[in-house]
């Protein structure tokens, strides 16, 4: 089973954000693998362990993202593809997905996995857009993947997956989905493995192919523009409620019902 995982490199979770226009100052901060994508990678590695095949890691961005691709290789991915683009932070979801889809289109892939969303932009659209652009079936917020090998009639029918999808409010659903397909993986569904020393050393010898957006024949057009990012200003003033407990409780319930209208 050939699985491709889209992985994004994002600013480290605890990095102090220095805003510069519509992005952040990249000097003096660390970068790391987008945490939701690490669950997708883990899922891919487990599927490979179960069904054989290859796990390819794909990442879009400047030179620094090769570091994150290496981390994925150290965990067990077989090879990596780096789409070099220094301006990728400016790309909108559709533009980024077009580039990724162009690269994926050149490979023979059974399954494309993505994380739910990125910790920086948080668009959460990549998986769905890839499915649309590659004309593949898809499902999102997947908690479990069961690949059913072959079919009961014994013919070489396309393989099928049984997927567990999360719905709101504690509900779940099973879905049948044929391969090839695109899935976005829910965070926290597995315990992400550690890179082993051997894995880190082996990663040095694994291939990372570099390709550019231009070479893939994708033009840089956007459907939307981030005008600016900013820290939302606080305009609220605290209203203190006083009185004996019963009174203050009644006051609060009234405020919550009629003023804030949250209950």
């Amino acid at each position: 089973m050939n699985i491709l995982v889209c992985i994004k490199q994002v600013p480290a979770k605890d990095a102090p954000l220095a805003i510069a226009g519509n992005w952040i100052k990249e000097s003096d901060i660390g970068f790391e693998m987008n945490e939701p994508d690490s669950y997708a990678l883990e899922e891919a590695l487990r599927l490979k362990e179960k069904h054989g095949g290859e796990v390819i890691v794909l990442s879009l961005g400047p030179e620094r993202v090769k570091q994150t691709i290496k981390e994925a290789l150290a965990k067990g991915a077989d090879r990596g593809i780096h789409i070099a683009d220094d301006n990728f932070a400016e790309l909108d979801p559709l533009g980024a997905a077009k580039v990724l889809a162009a690269a994926i289109g050149k490979e023979k892939i059974d399954l494309v996995l993505t994380g739910l969303q990125s910790d920086d932009h948080g668009f959460g659209q990549t998986g769905v857009l890839l499915a649309a652009l590659l004309n593949l079936p898809h499902a999102t917020i997947i908690m479990q993947i069961d690949v059913q090998e072959g079919s009961s009639s014994g013919t070489t029918a396309p393989r099928l997956m049984k997927l567990k999808r999360e719905l709101e409010a504690g509900w779940f659903q099973w879905i049948e989905c044929p391969l090839p397909a695109v899935l976005s993986i829910q965070s926290g569904i597995n315990k992400v493995r550690y890179a082993t020393l051997k894995g880190i050393m082996a990663a040095k010898k694994k291939e990372i192919a570099t390709v550019t957006r231009e070479a893939l024949g994708v033009s840089a057009e956007s459907t939307q523009k981030i005008e600016k990012i900013y820290v939302p200003t606080k305009t609220k003033k605290t209203e203190f409620l006083t009185g004996p407990p019963k009174e203050v409780a009644a006051k609060l319930v009234e405020k919550l019902k009629f003023e804030a209208r949250v209950i």
């Binding site: 979770k13 102090p16 790391e32 315990k191 493995r193 550690y194 020393l197 051997k198």
Partner: protein, 551 residues
């Protein structure tokens, strides 16, 4: 738990990717390259050099002021001026005396505070850059791996065992449990930094102590972005006086970096009498001095961090060579406490270790007999030259600042000998005086703009640890905390920890120790300063700890 650990073998294992460890790796890789290029035999490989780094990134746990003397870097990386990310050369060196309301600049900056020719740097950045060079040289650099235990063999060491990963807080394996490796090497270099946990174990077990136990200080640092015009890049000031009493040893620093960024901090020797002294609070108080407050006006806190530093110098230097092992950097006491310079000495010690190992690799002999070359090289290098001159410096201050100035002045004109040579030191944790029932002081709160409480500061250290793992602060006897320590010293851990890890909480009628291990910034102060020496800092799961980007 007994289990089968995966075994790996290297030629050289370096524990710690700080200035000492990386300089050792890079220098050795360069020597090997030249050696192979010349066709000499046996052929060696830089790929058989393994470096372990417990941080998530190279440089993540590096904290220093820092002013760097470039002499070691110049040897290690010729042409460093063009390639190294040094922030700014020092343009002005000031020695300031603070009183509560005023500051006085010494008309002539005393030589130890004169930093002309040196650079103001972010140690984290420089180390990160060095790490890049080390990797490019083919060395295997493993991030998120720590040395948890030593492998002893014969009279020396034969490698380390890395930490177990994926254990829950009760020590039970989780789904992704990965036991630590048995990493063997012909030579293991301990370059763990200040109060290295493996080094501490090794020195105790093999009796490697020198005539003085190591003395330590704690350095607490904040990185700020200030209003333009407040400070010039390359401005370096060291302050003495307020708010540190003359009975204590310590002082502040203000370093101007480029782009209106400054590094400020306070160092205090961990050998004071008041068991409830709060170094973090002292630092925050120091910031309220008019001179500092003015610089910080309208500025913003960027990062916070803390680290201990080894003050003991030459006479506290443990034996640093043995069968299969060497000790370099802060772990080996290579810090000039008078000039507060440790980076170049750490680097030089790493390079000398590399040269020693290179000879051993050629000979195929890794015994103490061959590795003693390390000590000989140190003795003939500027490491000894510099440290010998200040060998009694820190000890002079055991009775306070005025006493210290007197002794060190005499040492200055006697090549370091002074009136008493060697001057002895006591372990800092023995200096505490009992509290005799004195009520506990009120805790510092901070105003949230200029000064901060510890929790707010710790948030800005970027420290994180997986919460579900065994506590890495091993207290040998918690009963002592609830009984003896409450009475005698009032639980100093609550005060000296700059990350609010330790708390005494009331449970019924007793006080019990609560450890917020996830806050830990790996400064090692608790391991050093606990009065009963029952706290053992051990390496947590790799990757955990602070994020000192830009520090």
């Amino acid at each position: 738990m007994t289990m089968q650990r995966e075994q790996l073998e290297a030629d050289v294992l370096i524990v710690g990717a700080g200035p000492a460890g990386l300089s050792c790796a890079l220098h050795l890789a360069n020597l090997i390259k030249q050696h192979n290029a010349s066709g000499a035999k046996p052929e060696l490989s830089a790929e058989n050099i393994y470096v372990l780094e417990k941080g998530r990134e190279i440089g993540a746990h590096q904290l220093s002021g820092a002013i760097m003397n470039p002499k070691a870097l110049a040897e290690l990386v010729p042409g460093f001026e063009k390639s190294a990310p040094l922030d700014t050369p020092v343009t002005d060196s000031a020695a300031l005396l603070f009183t509560e309301k005023h500051s006085y600049r010494a008309p002539i900056t005393p030589p130890p505070f004169n930093n002309t020719g040196n650079y103001v740097i972010s140690l984290s950045k420089v180390v990160k850059w060095l790490g890049g060079l080390v990797e490019a040289a083919g060395v295997n650099l493993f991030k998120e791996f720590g040395g948890a235990d030593l492998i002893y063999e014969g009279d020396g060491i034969a490698g380390v065992i890395t930490e177990d990963k994926g254990l829950d807080k009760n020590g039970k394996p989780k789904a992704n449990y990965t036991p630590g490796y048995e990493l063997r090497a012909k030579v293991t270099v301990l370059a763990e930094g200040t109060r290295g946990s493996l080094t501490k174990q090794l020195v105790a077990k093999k009796h490697l102590d020198n005539i003085n136990p190591q003395s330590y200080g704690i350095g607490i640092k904040e990185l700020w972005d200030v209003q333009p015009g407040k400070i010039k890049p390359g401005y370096v000031a060291h302050t003495l006086g307020w708010p540190i009493s003359t009975k204590m040893y310590g002082g502040g620093w203000i370093y101007g970096l480029s782009n209106n960024r400054i590094s400020i901090g306070l160092v205090i020797a961990l050998e004071y009498e008041n068991s409830r002294f709060d170094p973090h609070a002292a630092f925050q108080t120091w910031k309220t001095h008019p001179f500092v407050r003015n610089i910080l006006e309208g500025g913003k806190l960027v990062r916070y961090g803390a680290k201990s530093l080894p003050y003991g110098g030459w006479y506290a230097m443990p034996r640093n060579f043995m069968d299969g092992g060497l000790i370099a950097g802060d772990s080996g006491s290579f810090l000039d406490s008078q000039r507060l310079k440790g980076v170049h000495l750490a680097m030089k010690s790493g390079m000398l270790a590399a040269e020693t190992i290179f000879e051993a690799l050629k000979k195929g002999d890794y015994s103490a007999n061959t590795l003693k070359l390390y000590k000989e090289k140190i003795d003939h290098s500027y490491i000894k030259e510099e440290l010998w001159k200040v060998r009694n410096f820190h000890q002079s201050f055991r009775n306070g600042m005025l006493d210290g100035f007197f002794h060190s002045a005499i040492q200055q004109i006697t090549g370091g000998a002074g009136l008493v040579d060697p001057m002895h030191a006591h372990a800092g944790h023995e200096a505490y005086k009992p509290i005799f029932g004195r009520p506990a002081p009120e805790r510092f709160k901070g105003d949230g703009k200029l000064t901060f409480d510890r929790l707010t500061d710790v948030y800005h250290s970027g420290t994180r640890h997986d919460e579900d793992q065994p506590c890495h602060l091993k207290v040998q006897d918690l009963n002592i905390c609830s009984t003896k320590c409450v009475e005698e010293f009032g639980n100093p851990c609550q005060y000296f920890c700059p990350a609010a890890v330790y708390e005494m909480v009331k449970e019924g009628s007793t006080l019990k120790l609560k450890i917020n291990a996830a806050n830990c910034v790996h400064c090692k102060t608790c391991d050093i300063a606990d009065p009963y020496q029952i706290i053992d800092w051990v390496v947590p799961e790799g990757g955990g700890g602070p994020n000192y980007d830009g520090m």
